[in-house]
């Protein structure tokens, strides 16, 4: 029996983006952050007498970071398909433009959840223990799914607007760096941080993804701020609408 159009597009996206080189970047980079930063900074904090493992703090942050990596998958699919002719080829096939876009978003979501699951396994293996409960897992999964859609939409917007390969790569790297390090993935939002940096933390959606995932990971669900989740949802919807508009307005046939 033939799969529905959307599932075919998703299968194609997953198959094309799960080659060894892509997986090394998608899983290897966050994995290395977890291992090197985790152990490196743990040794630093333990010298200061802190009993809290930095690794335990970092692990949920890295799960949140997977949403950014999933977003890059979404952007890369659209960018590569535009650049290498597959977008026009698919759109003269039995697919609509919206099916194509939805296929990318769902792929991003799958990569976010899949990557987070792998990182969770790595974290549990490194920490040797977990306080995860069913509710905590549900909150984490929901937030990671939301974050994946949000960053997927952001990267799709970039891929739809940018014209040159160099510009796309440069802006993407800059975005990843900014989103990653101006968030609570690697360190908490401390009052000792410079004011400008704190503002960046506050406007960065990854901060909220990391916070909620961290609460889910640590079992402190009562500490989850519903406004953070609502904010993420609103941002995801707005970015998705902007990305859809930019994509629908781009002239596929001229590429």
């Amino acid at each position: 029996m033939a799969l529905p159009n959307l599932l075919r597009l998703i299968y194609r996206n997953v198959r094309v983006n799960t080659d060894p080189a892509s997986l090394i970047i998608l899983l290897g980079l966050p994995g290395m952050y977890l291992v090197f930063f985790g152990f490196g900074f743990s040794s630093l904090t333990s010298q200061g007498g802190s009993a809290t493992s930095y690794l335990a703090f970092l692990a949920p942050g890295i799960l949140a970071f997977q949403t950014v990596m999933a977003g890059t998958v979404a952007g890369s699919i659209l960018w590569a398909d535009r650049r290498f002719g597959m977008l026009a080829q698919l759109l003269v096939g039995p697919f609509t433009r919206l099916e194509y876009l939805l296929g990318i978003i769902v792929t991003s979501l799958l990569f976010g959840l899949g990557g987070a699951a792998v990182m969770l396994g790595v974290a549990v293996a490194l920490l040797g223990t977990t306080t995860l409960g069913v509710a905590g897992i549900a909150v984490m999964l929901g937030t990671i799914a939301l974050g994946s859609v949000l960053f997927g939409a952001l990267m799709l917007l970039l891929a739809a607007l940018v014209k040159s390969n160099n510009a796309y790569n440069s802006v993407q790297i800059l975005l990843i760096f900014f989103v990653n390090f101006a968030s609570t993935v690697f360190y908490p939002l401390s009052p000792r941080l410079p004011e400008a940096l704190r503002v960046l933390f506050v406007v960065n959606p990854l901060t909220y993804v990391a916070d909620v995932v961290r609460h889910g990971y640590g079992g402190s669900l009562s500490a989850v701020n519903p406004l953070e989740v609502v904010g993420l949802l609103v941002e995801a919807v707005v970015l998705l609408l902007l990305a859809t508009r930019a994509y629908l307005r781009s002239d596929v046939s001229l590429e």
Binding site: R8, R12, D19, F84, G85, A88, L91, G93, P94
Partner: protein, 332 residues
């Protein structure tokens, strides 16, 4: 310019019907400027024209990638404005530019078949047959982006046959192919046509069009200049001969100027650099004039040849000067 009307009767069952089709990308310049033609079921219809003539825009309109600004377009009886998906489900398109997924040759074929909903076992059967038919079995494990231009083109065309279709649009499919593979591809298309496939084929290569097409439309500046069967078009010029002449560079300009003045008997002169093509009713008189002018002007004739007409002559005559250095003289 010649304007040979498409003699097809108004056929509501025609797989493709274009009526006064207009398209403008910027609202000012018309890439298509009132194109009308019909394509019969099971024929190979060639779109011939120079770069920028409007061929690819026409293909994009017929494959629903762009919506024409004005005019009527019916594909398989459906209106692309409202039935885009239903049309696309029944057509195949080999686009002019390359299009690949980041995977192996066989992976590209398999993924493409999957996208079209072909079951796994059938995909495998078709993939093996196409790898053999297009001579790409040896490179099946290579990644598509590591292939040469000709190999990529073969894979791209082969891939399109992974699914079933009623109309196949081929936008310059033989670019980059060697002679053998070009013929293989054209023969493959012919085989499919015998099974009932309708093909729309754009090309610069008029030999290919001659070999493959049942009918052609010559397009220039967004308009159909000539549309008829290849045989009819050739017959249109059957009483004429083509004289090719090349003069030495020093005297060429003066020589052709004098020749233009003398060319008579329905002759049409098209100059390109130091060479000229003369379409004439009376080859003997034309040859005598050439020799006489050469003697008088001191020009050395580097090449002189008389031949029957080809589709290329029809094409050149249809699009006139073809952007070359001199205009076509009208018969006196």
């Amino acid at each position: 310019m010649n304007a040979v009307a498409d003699a097809l009767p108004d056929d509501p069952t025609a797989p493709i019907s274009c009526e006064a089709l207009v398209h403008s990308y910027d609202g000012r310049h018309r890439a298509l400027d009132g194109v009308s033609f019909r394509v019969r079921r099971g024929e190979v219809f060639g779109l011939l024209g120079r770069n920028g003539a409007g061929k690819s825009t026409l293909i994009k309109a017929m494959t629903t990638l762009i919506t024409p600004t004005e005019g009527q377009l019916r594909i398989l009886g459906l209106d692309p404005r409202h039935d885009g998906r239903r049309i696309r489900e029944r057509i195949g398109v080999v686009q002019q530019g390359e299009s690949f997924d980041f995977t192996s040759v066989e992976g590209n074929l398999d993924i493409y078949g999957m996208l079209w909903g072909i079951p796994r076992e059938e995909r495998a059967r078709r993939r093996e047959a196409l790898l053999a038919r297009f001579g790409i079995a040896e490179i099946r494990k290579r990644r598509s982006f590591d292939l040469s231009g000709g190999q990529k083109r073969r894979v791209q065309v082969a891939r399109e046959f992974m699914h079933d279709m009623e109309i196949l649009f081929l936008d310059e499919p033989t670019v980059g192919l060697d002679v053998l593979m070009r013929r293989t591809l054209l023969d493959s298309v012919r085989d499919e046509v015998r099974r009932g496939l309708t093909v729309v084929f754009t090309t610069h290569n008029l030999e290919e069009a001659d070999y493959l097409c049942d009918r052609v439309a010559v397009i220039d500046l967004g308009r159909v200049i000539v549309s008829d069967s290849v045989e009819n078009l050739k017959r249109l010029y059957s009483g004429k001969k083509t004289v090719d002449v090349t003069a030495d560079a020093e005297h060429a300009e003066r020589f052709f100027a004098a020749l233009r003045e003398r060319a008579g008997g329905g002759a049409t002169l098209t100059v390109h650099g130091t060479s000229a093509t003369i379409l004439t009713d009376d080859a003997k008189t034309t040859l005598a004039a050439i020799v006489e002018i050469a003697r008088g002007s001191g020009a050395a004739l580097e090449w002189l040849n008389v031949r029957g007409n080809t589709l290329e002559d029809v094409f050149l005559r249809s699009v006139g000067n073809g952007g070359r250095s001199d205009g076509a003289a009208q018969p006196p």
